[in-house]
């Protein structure tokens, strides 16, 4: 494997936000699109969706146009991913590639058009989830980064951090433990509780390792919903004020 190409490196060594990480989509130029991508990352059950919903409300009241995109929500791939998960025919490579395909579909059909139109794209998970899950399953880390070279570097990435024990309690209180989120495909045993903790612990390690590489803004996931949201709004507000992001016409005066 060769070193991943980095044509869009910014001043801090990372990729300039709003540019492709690697080779990108050569047939789709995204230069100077006015929209912004804000990604919220974190493992299952950490409270991402609640935070996204609240942030969206707040942004819309401020007059911003907001588009949401979420993992495995592409119309093209969702049925196939569901089918593959229910029949346990996924191996680590097809697992990774199906997710990449889902992301590519959403990137081209949702994210890029929204950026072009000046929207704020709220991403409920981004490519880092895929990289973390692949890492835990032993996929070559260089290869997966090259694979996602077609992704656009978000303007802000928030990472909701939590420890595996707190997470286990939270998940048990709400939806309960699920086969894939517990890493049962990794066949480490029949005890779903132990498997969940071991799997989530390795996932958290992968996320932690990416924090510097991708410039995560870390938020403490154990804090209350309101205090996390306050912090999110403060940082997002600060960024948008300085970015000259377009607001929807007419909404500014009314809000």
């Amino acid at each position: 494997m060769t070193t991943p190409p980095s044509p869009n490196r910014g001043a801090q060594g990372g990729v300039t936000p709003g540019h492709y990480y690697g080779h990108g989509l050569p047939y789709l130029s995204i230069d100077r699109y006015p929209g912004k991508i804000i990604a919220l990352e974190g493992t299952d059950g950490v409270g991402r969706s609640t935070q996204i919903r609240l942030l969206r409300e707040w942004l819309e009241v401020q007059g911003y146009g907001v588009v949401e995109t979420g993992w495995t929500r592409s119309p093209l791939m969702q049925p196939t991913i569901e089918l593959a998960k229910s029949s346990n025919t996924l191996n680590k490579l097809t697992f990774v590639l199906l997710y990449a395909c889902d992301f590519a579909d959403r990137l081209e059909k949702e994210i890029i058009p929204a950026l072009k139109a000046g929207f704020i794209v709220l991403a409920d998970r981004y490519i880092y989830t895929a990289i973390a899950r692949a890492g835990v399953r032993g996929v070559d880390s260089q290869w997966i980064r090259q694979l996602y070279g077609f992704a656009i570097a978000p303007h802000l990435v928030f990472y909701l951090k939590i420890d595996a024990d707190a997470l286990a309690r939270r998940v048990l209180e709400t939806a309960g433990m699920e086969y894939w989120e517990s890493g049962m495909d990794m066949k480490s045993g029949d005890d779903i509780y132990e498997s969940f903790r071991a799997y989530q612990r390795s996932l958290l390690k992968e996320y932690a390792a990416m924090a510097d590489e991708f410039g995560f803004r870390v938020l403490e996931g154990k804090k209350s919903v309101n205090s996390i949201q306050e912090e999110l709004r403060r940082q997002v507000g600060e960024f948008l004020d300085g970015s000259g992001s377009p607001k929807v016409l007419g909404a500014e005066a009314g809000s």
Binding site: M1, T2, P5, G22, H23, G24, L25, P26, Y27, L76, M77, P79, T80, L83, A84, T89, L90, N91, L93, T94, L97, L98, A100, C101, A104, D105, L107, E108, K109, D140, W143, Q146, L147, G149, F150
Partner: protein, 181 residues
């Protein structure tokens, strides 16, 4: 001996079919879906017979993706990295045919050229035959550069089937007699 065909895994068939039917595939999703299909077949259909000492006959291999995806505008280096997990074949044969011959053969067999096969998704021409000519010319150009890059053996596919088969059998038996070469 085991035969495996391009784009035949059950896993991604539904998505590929749906995407093709609605003409909803972009060059990138087209590329990734075919790589998923290949990964699925590699692990379930190609590696096990190889381990058992069998010969795997692959009707198209990663080179098809290298030629086709790049003709669609996907990055050349990216698609090679994508297939970094593939097993290098012991013998790769490229049946080369001029664009007019392939058009004649396809049109003789069926009435209509398929949407993606004709590269209609690129929007270069609304005439399927013209679009096919433009798109497949780019594909053939890419194949020609693959010959040197990956050491493909070329067979002139405008020759008679008997002649092509004679050459093909000769190449294969030489490879089997001296597998190390």
């Amino acid at each position: 001996m085991f035969v495996t065909e391009w784009n035949s895994s059950a896993l991604v068939k539904a998505a590929t079919k749906a995407g093709k039917k609605k003409n909803a595939l972009t060059p990138m999703t087209f590329s990734l879906l075919h790589a998923t299909d290949f990964a699925d077949r590699l692990l379930y259909k190609i590696i096990p017979p190889l381990k058992a000492g069998m010969i795997v006959l692959a009707d198209r291999y990663a080179y098809t993706a290298f030629a086709r995806d790049v003709a669609r505008g996907v990055d050349r280096e990216w698609v090679r990295d994508l297939y970094g997990f593939a097993v290098q074949p012991n013998l790769s044969v490229y049946f080369r045919v001029p664009i007019d011959v392939s058009l004649d053969r396809l049109l003789a067999r069926r009435v209509k050229l398929k949407f993606y096969e004709a590269g209609m998704d690129m929007g270069w021409s609304s005439n399927p035959t013209e679009s096919f000519r433009l798109f497949q010319s780019k594909v053939l150009e890419e194949y020609d550069s693959l010959v040197g890059e990956f050491g493909l053996t070329v067979i002139d596919a405008s020759a008679s089937i008997t002649e092509q088969q004679r050459l093909f059998r000769k190449m294969v038996s030489e490879k089997l007699e001296r597998p190390a070469s």
